[in-house]
């Protein structure tokens, strides 16, 4: 029952946002920035995409893990394409793509938390450095290693905590089988909504830019307003979550909103640094997965662990 209510609420919100976006697109008299409206609409598209994917998670958790695995692989592909690597990194990259990325998601699928929580930060990070050293190219060594490690960390490790939410058991919802699917759905809805709300608040109230050189639209007012709006929506969806008090839901929502903004800003910095140089002909036509998952990547591991620490089932 609660599953359908959550799905219904999100669908209603989405339809409303889509309708609003299309309406804005037709308003030529308001003098709106066409680029901003397009950006708004592409966010809504991403939201639709995630909602449909997550609709599946109610029925089939493994399928969700596989889908996120593919998304991860693609994001990493875009990331490494944007990042200059040298010949000496080739073998290390091969293992990153064909061993560490699939293995991470297989471990998530089998819910082996003790392994997948350390596979990348311990084994992969050390391996990448050692493999690059074996290849014998020492030029800009630290720089190259850091680039690959960061890419693997953000695109694979962080993103893998989204499907991992499906296996997270909370104290308060023991025995409720679809509780974790609802948690995942709640999380994604919060992330995407916070980005949208942040964007709208920035446009309407924005005065003080956070980092002008990186993102000309992201403001402190947007961040605060977005976080507040997210907290309100979170409280409205209170009944769908494993959190037992309204203030807990609100705090978690604000946490998600802050992490999402941090993620989007960080990835914008990377794109600024690299993007305009090469992305043009290479990424174009592929949809740009990386720029759609940036907020999710930062919010997922933090949300997962905070939930685990404060609400997780003892010994689970």
């Amino acid at each position: 029952m609660r599953d359908w209510a959550l799905l219904g609420t999100v669908l209603a919100l989405l339809s409303l946002a889509t309708f609003g976006g299309q309406w804005l697109k037709r308003q030529t008299t308001l003098g709106l920035d066409a680029k901003a409206v397009d950006s708004f609409n592409s966010r809504i598209q991403a939201w639709w995409f995630f909602s449909i994917v997550l609709g599946i998670s109610f029925f089939h958790p493994i399928l969700t893990v596989v889908l996120f695995g593919m998304l991860s692989f693609w994001a990493l592909r875009e990331y490494i394409t944007l990042t200059p690597t040298t010949m000496g990194d080739h073998r290390a990259l091969f293992w990153v793509f064909f061993f560490f990325t699939p293995t991470q998601f297989v471990l998530v699928g089998f819910n082996m938390y003790s392994l997948y929580s350390v596979l990348i930060p311990v084994y992969a990070f050390l391996f990448i450095a050692a493999r690059a050293a074996i290849s014998g190219d020492y030029r800009r060594f630290l720089e190259r290693i850091a680039k690959i490690q960061f890419g693997l960390f953000v695109c694979v490790y962080c993103l893998s905590f989204v499907p991992a939410l499906l296996f997270l058991e909370c104290q308060s919802t023991e025995g409720d089988e679809s509780a974790s699917a609802r948690l995942l759905f709640f999380f994604i809805t919060m992330v995407l909504f916070s980005e949208l709300a942040q964007f709208l608040c920035s446009r309407l109230l924005g005065k003080h830019l956070i980092a002008e050189a990186i993102d000309e639209t992201r403001t402190w007012e947007g961040l605060l307003g977005g976080a507040a709006a997210t907290a309100i929506l979170g409280s409205v969806l209170f009944w769908a979550t494993p959190f037992r008090h309204l203030w807990q839901v609100a705090t978690m929502s604000i946490l998600i909103a802050c992490m999402s903004s941090a993620g989007a800003l960080t990835m914008a910095a990377i794109r600024r640094d690299r993007g305009e140089v090469r992305s043009g002909t290479l990424i174009e036509g592929h949809g740009g997965v990386l720029s759609r998952i940036d907020a999710v990547c930062f919010a997922a591991p933090v949300f997962y662990h905070v939930t685990l620490v404060f609400f997780g089932r003892a010994g689970g």
């Binding site: 592909r77 875009e78 490494i80 394409t81 690597t85 010949m87 080739h90 073998r91 990259l93 091969f94 793509f97 002909t281 290479l282 990424i283 174009e284 036509g285 592929h286």
Partner: protein, 200 residues
């Protein structure tokens, strides 16, 4: 047929290629596609980027010493209808240019890598003269420059396992050999035509 589909899709998936035509359209008229050469996949990639009807009329020029090594390569070369050229022993009485022109007749097109071999890194080497003689003997052929971006990172020289990054393939507007244009000038112009697609 099955191998062809498999081959084109494998090439597309590994290379994550996006194909663009800039001031140029796919056409079944007789053409010479000339591209920069950085990896073993280039031949298959350019060939599979063409629409099926054009592809079936297009023959890539490939090095005999490489594509005749081993039965798999030999079979693949047959699938994409490669024209194998001996780059080690070029004899006067059987010049590869004449052979190419004889083979394409009045219907087929060619894919050519005028650098001769693969260049390391992102550089584009000096062009060899084959393209000039093709243009001289058959002035009606459209010479289409093609720029292959990022393949040198997907399968660099000396590696046999690919890393699945994204690449792009840009087809440019045709050039022709001008009347009385000196060989070196033309080859430099052709090389510029390929390079200019890089930032396009």
């Amino acid at each position: 047929m099955i191998t062809e589909t498999l081959l084109t899709w494998t090439a597309r998936i590994i290379s994550g290629v996006s194909v663009r035509w800039v001031d140029s359209q796919p056409d079944t008229c007789q053409r010479v596609y000339f591209a920069n050469h950085t990896s073993h996949l280039d031949v298959v990639l350019v060939w599979s980027a063409l629409p099926a009807d054009v592809r079936h009329l297009t023959r890539p020029i490939a090095a005999k010493d490489y594509w005749e090594g081993g039965s798999i390569r030999r079979h693949l070369a047959k699938v994409f209808n490669a024209m194998l050229i001996d780059r080690k022993e070029i004899k006067v009485h059987q010049s590869p240019i004449d052979m190419m022109l004889r083979e394409i007749g009045k219907t087929h097109s060619l894919i050519l890598f005028p650098e001769g071999g693969r260049s390391p890194g992102e550089e584009v080497g000096e062009f060899k003269s084959g393209l000039y003689y093709l243009g001289k003997k058959r002035p009606d052929l459209e010479l289409i420059p093609v720029y292959i971006n990022n393949m040198n990172r997907i399968l660099p020289r000396g590696e046999f396992m690919p890393v699945p990054l994204l690449s792009s393939l840009t087809f440019g507007p045709p050039i022709w050999l001008e009347a009385g244009e000196p060989k070196m000038d033309f080859l430099a112009r052709a090389r510029e035509a390929v390079l200019s697609l890089k930032d396009n």
